[in-house]
């Protein structure tokens, strides 16, 4: 059981900055995120794309923003629990008990939900029969690539994941790469490589095709793909891999008794607390009149929610407003020796 003042759900920019604000006022926290790294949408959706509206930062990428935030919270030694999704929530007197998908447990005074638009889950094939094979011969991510050795794979998608895996696996497996159009969203160098491999006969590229159906007994045996103009091809396949990016799902948070307004959580604008005392929501996941889904709004919400947590974490103490420029206590917490 991890006993801390606050649990932050979501390691995007808002969650990270909230950890900073909690640290400055002397509260401890840990962070849970469903992804395998910190950064949230910034890292998952636009790591290389520029952001122009972070105050005092004329231009930075999603990755740079994340790295700077991680650097900023370094003094607080915040523990991250990645690849974990919050599942259960229980109230125990004045504390919250939270359990994750991987069985990690927390005992905290307050919870800050900074979950963006929910937890990221892989986007799936729309063909119904795919469900039956999911996990045995159809995958949306690769955990153990050795199972594909000497097998025939059909990889669907046109982004970096699809291209990178098609290139890598083409050396040990027979790879079919299927994409719905001639253009690709992945890196140009990978696109060239795939075309080269296709020309050399080391990989079969099918563009303007999409999945039509899959068939097999226990495992997938064949896949039918359909051309834009209607022609259908049947290809033998031991495995099917789909890389269509991620979709966001609100998940178990929906069952926590919070007031939900179209996939967002209603909060007050004084401290961004929800209708449930001790549970706060900040960033893209919170809703209030006038809400803007901007990173800078998330930072403001983080600062106020962190202070809102104080009364739950330290009910007998009074929080004084201080500037980091002049506060000795804040500077000690930041590990600054002057």
């Amino acid at each position: 059981m991890n006993k801390k003042d606050v649990l932050i759900i979501g390691a995007g920019p808002t969650g990270l900055f909230c950890a900073h604000q909690l640290g400055i006022i002397g509260l401890s926290c840990e962070i849970v995120d469903n992804l395998d790294k910190a950064g949230g949408q910034c890292i998952e959706l636009y790591p290389d794309k520029p952001i122009y509206d972070i105050p005092a930062v004329p231009e930075c990428t999603g990755e740079e923003l994340t790295n700077n935030l991680l650097k900023q919270i370094k003094p607080f030694n915040v523990k991250f629990h990645l690849n974990e999704r919050v599942e259960e929530l229980k109230k125990n007197q004045n504390r919250w008990h939270v359990k994750t998908s991987g069985g990690v447990e927390f005992d905290v005074a307050a919870i800050v939900i900074a979950g963006g638009v929910g937890s990221f889950e892989p986007r799936k094939f729309s063909v119904k029969e795919c469900e039956k094979f999911e996990g045995n011969s159809l995958f949306y991510s690769i955990k153990d690539k050795s199972i594909f050795k000497d097998k025939t794979l059909s990889i669907f998608g046109g982004g970096d994941s699809a291209l990178d895996w098609a290139i890598e696996l083409s050396s040990v497996s027979k790879v079919n790469l299927i994409h719905r159009r001639d253009g690709f969203s992945g890196a140009e160098a990978s696109v060239q490589k795939v075309k080269e491999l296709n020309d050399q006969g080391k990989l079969n590229l099918f563009t303007k095709y999409q999945m039509d159906s899959v068939a097999g007994d226990k495992n997938i045996e064949t896949v039918k793909i359909k051309h834009d103009e209607g022609e259908i091809k049947e290809i033998k396949s031991d495995y099917v891999l789909g890389f269509f990016g991620l979709i966001m799902q609100l998940g178990p948070i929906l069952d926590w008794g919070l007031n939900i307004n179209k996939k967002t959580v209603e909060v007050n604008t004084e401290n961004f607390e929800t209708n449930v005392k001790g549970i706060f929501a900040i960033g893209d996941i919170c809703y209030y009149p006038g809400k803007l889904k901007l990173i800078l709004s998330g930072f403001h919400e983080a600062a106020l929610a962190a202070r809102g947590c104080f009364k739950y974490a330290k009910p007998d103490e009074k929080l004084r407003f201080e500037f980091t420029t002049t506060s000795k206590a804040a500077q000690e917490r930041l590990g600054i020796n002057k």
Binding site: S126, G158, H179, R181, S185
Partner: protein, 106 residues
């Protein structure tokens, strides 16, 4: 105002007066048309406002930016007449536009 018609997957038709300058996505969200989620809020980062545009309107729409086509790779059952409704700004030219909303977004 321009009239935009949304055909939802439950076979209902919603014809809405959408203010010029708003996007087809915003028109749907403000009027609670089911099936348009717009998770990212119009940033071309999620593909959950994906619609099928009635064929005769395709030529009248602004051309797709690269980012839109990339996101459509991620959409649920993309077709040749797929667009992200957050990229379609309502104007006099689009008065009468009809779109079909896929049975689900993702």
């Amino acid at each position: 105002m321009a009239k935009i018609t949304y055909h939802t997957h439950d076979n209902k038709t919603h014809t809405i007066d959408v203010q010029k300058g708003l996007t087809v996505m915003e028109g749907a969200i403000q009027n609670d048309i089911p099936g348009i989620d717009a998770d990212c809020g119009g940033g071309m980062a999620c593909a959950t406002c994906h619609v099928y545009v009635k064929e005769e309107w395709l030529d009248k729409l602004p051309t797709k930016e690269d980012g839109e086509e990339d996101m459509l790779d991620m959409a649920f059952e993309p077709k040749n007449n797929s667009r992200l409704s957050c990229q379609l700004i309502v104007s006099d030219e689009l008065d009468g536009l009809e779109v079909n909303i896929p049975s689900k977004q993702g």
